[in-house]
């Protein structure tokens, strides 16, 4: 990945000073963070803290008013989503957002329209998710919630991401199913992918990730390696306790 002489410790993704607006409403205020190569970063925060907005901005769906997004050494602040996918950034959106009139397989194929060079072929995806292989001809909305989430992840993998952004993949799913999905994510990490995970469940986020960023009302309240912070510190940052 760092074949062109960048320092080996350089982050895969670097964000600085991002301001993002929805009309008159400002969702992010000068957000900066960096995502180390090959790691997993948990993005936590209360509802409305700006986690989804930040992921959408990284994915290119939300243009920032100012600040920059640098990926793998290149400035991609102005790049449209399909260019970012071609560079290896894929997103699993909040609420899965599968295409209801497409079959499972078609949903996955659509994920590959702007694929990066490392795109996963269908067979590899079905090997990784045997439960959806059986359902490839069914329409996506007929699947269970866990299966739908697996399809949403598979759709992102079809693009061959080096950076996978996952937005609340455990929402509304049974604990066992979530356990399964996180098992898959661990497999992706060991295969070299970098993950950014938005997760409501703080314990799970801290177990699965080695780096943590906590947003509070559109600002970064805490950013640290998971090993260096206690659960209480994160909770304090989460609720904004101890602020003047």
């Amino acid at each position: 990945m760092s074949e062109d002489g960048r320092p080996p410790g350089a982050p895969l993704l670097e964000i600085a000073g991002l301001d993002v607006f929805y009309g008159d409403f400002q969702a992010l205020f000068g957000v900066s963070m960096s995502v180390p190569r090959g790691g997993a970063t948990a993005l936590v925060g209360a509802n409305g803290a700006g986690k989804t907005t930040l992921l959408r901005t990284i994915a290119g769906a939300q243009p920032p008013a100012c600040g920059f997004v640098r990926y793998d050494g290149a400035d991609i602040t102005a790049a449209p989503p399909h260019r970012r996918i071609a560079r290896g950034i894929a997103v699993v959106p909040e609420g899965r957002r599968l295409f209801p009139s497409l079959t499972v397989q078609e949903n996955i194929q659509v994920g590959a329209v702007a694929a990066a060079s490392g795109a996963w072929p269908l067979e590899r995806i079905y090997d990784a998710f045997p439960m959806i292989a059986r359902r490839r001809g069914q329409r996506a909305f007929t699947l269970s919630g866990g299966e739908q989430q697996a399809v949403a992840i598979a759709r992102a993998l079809a693009a061959g991401p080096s950076l996978l952004l996952l937005d609340e993949i455990s929402l509304g799913l049974a604990p066992l199913v979530v356990e399964d999905l996180y098992g898959t994510l661990a497999g992706l990490r060991s295969a070299g992918a970098t993950l950014v995970i938005v997760e409501q469940d703080l314990r799970r986020a801290m177990d699965a990730c080695d780096h943590l960023v906590c947003l509070l009302e559109g600002r970064v309240a805490l950013a640290a390696p998971v090993a260096d912070v206690s659960r209480d510190q994160v909770i304090a940052a989460y609720f904004g306790e101890g602020r003047p």
Binding site: P81, F99, P100, F141
Partner: protein
């Protein structure tokens, strides 16, 4: 025997309505735009056919290899330059823009071609017919129009369900924001869909002009029938559009058999009845309903 004949003639007429309607249905289904200039674009196709066939001195069918690509390019250009911009400004802007386009086209045609009714040179096909039984005579031209409608709908169906382009179109129609997010370039998708919509409209215009006559104002009436066919069939369902067109055509001819004065009124009443009883149209299947439910599920 009169009634059987009326039903057959009505079905064939319905094929023409479906041909003009399928582009409207496609554009609405994918881009959520009701193109009020759709009928006028069909009439433009008829005028283009008139010019080409007069200049070249050939029946209008021969000009289709020129006419259809030109219509496709015009549709794609309209989408990129006009409709796409309008779509970024809420739901009202596209209505105003396409309505304005409709008024402009009608007046420009009036200036350029006068309001004289015109007909197209359809060659030998125009007057040819064959007998099924003593009382039933089928015009080859009507049959060709019907079969063309079926062929166009089949091609569209195959393109949409079997090709990579079709997957992108359906994904974009389902959820524009997510389509962008997974890397679909929406503008080329929209441009090709608009191009196909206008090309099918122009093809329908050629049939309208060959079967009957047309003038610069003919587009409005054409649009109404097309719109009714789409709504009766169920928005977004191509085969529903064919059924909708056939329902309109059969109603028109059968009622016309009783009293010609009520034929068109009956068509509009059928439309109103369907809209009242099944507002989603005849072919909004349980599947579409399930999709709506699926989207309603939180999370």
């Amino acid at each position: 025997m009169n009634w059987v004949n009326a039903v057959i003639q009505g079905m064939l007429l319905g094929g023409q309505y479906a041909l003009i309607a399928c582009g409207l249905s496609l554009a609405f289904g994918v881009m959520r735009i009701v193109n009020l200039a759709h009928g006028d674009l069909a009439v433009c196709g008829a005028y283009l056919g008139l010019v080409l066939s007069s200049v070249l001195g050939v029946p209008v069918w021969v000009t289709l290899p020129l006419l259809l690509p030109a219509a496709f390019v015009a549709g794609a250009a309209l989408q990129v330059l006009l409709f796409g911009r309008a779509l970024r400004h809420g739901v009202l802007a596209p209505v105003l823009v396409t309505f304005g386009l409709s008024v402009m086209i009608e007046n420009l045609l009036q200036v350029a071609a006068t309001s004289d009714p015109r007909g197209l040179n359809g060659g030998a096909l125009t007057l040819a017919s064959f007998h099924i039984t003593a009382g039933i005579t089928v015009s080859w031209l009507f049959l060709t129009a019907f079969l063309t409608a079926c062929a166009v709908l089949s091609c569209l169906q195959v393109l949409l369900s079997r090709t990579s382009w079709g997957r992108k179109v359906r994904a974009t129609a389902d959820d524009l924001d997510t389509a962008r997010l997974v890397g679909i370039r929406v503008r080329p998708v929209f441009a090709t869909v608009a191009g196909i919509a206008v090309a099918t409209a122009a093809l329908a215009g050629v049939f309208i002009g060959t079967i009957g006559t047309f003038d610069p104002q003919a587009g409005t009436n054409t649009l109404i029938f097309a719109f009714e066919a789409v709504v009766i069939g169920g928005i977004g369902s191509l085969w529903g559009t064919l059924v909708g067109g056939v329902a309109l055509g059969v109603t028109q001819v059968v009622v016309g058999e009783v009293n010609q004065a009520y034929a068109v009124l009956a068509v509009h009443l059928l439309f109103l009845a369907v809209l009242t009883i099944r507002p989603g149209g005849l072919f909004t299947s349980h599947q579409a309903a399930a999709e709506v439910r699926a989207r309603g599920v939180p999370g």
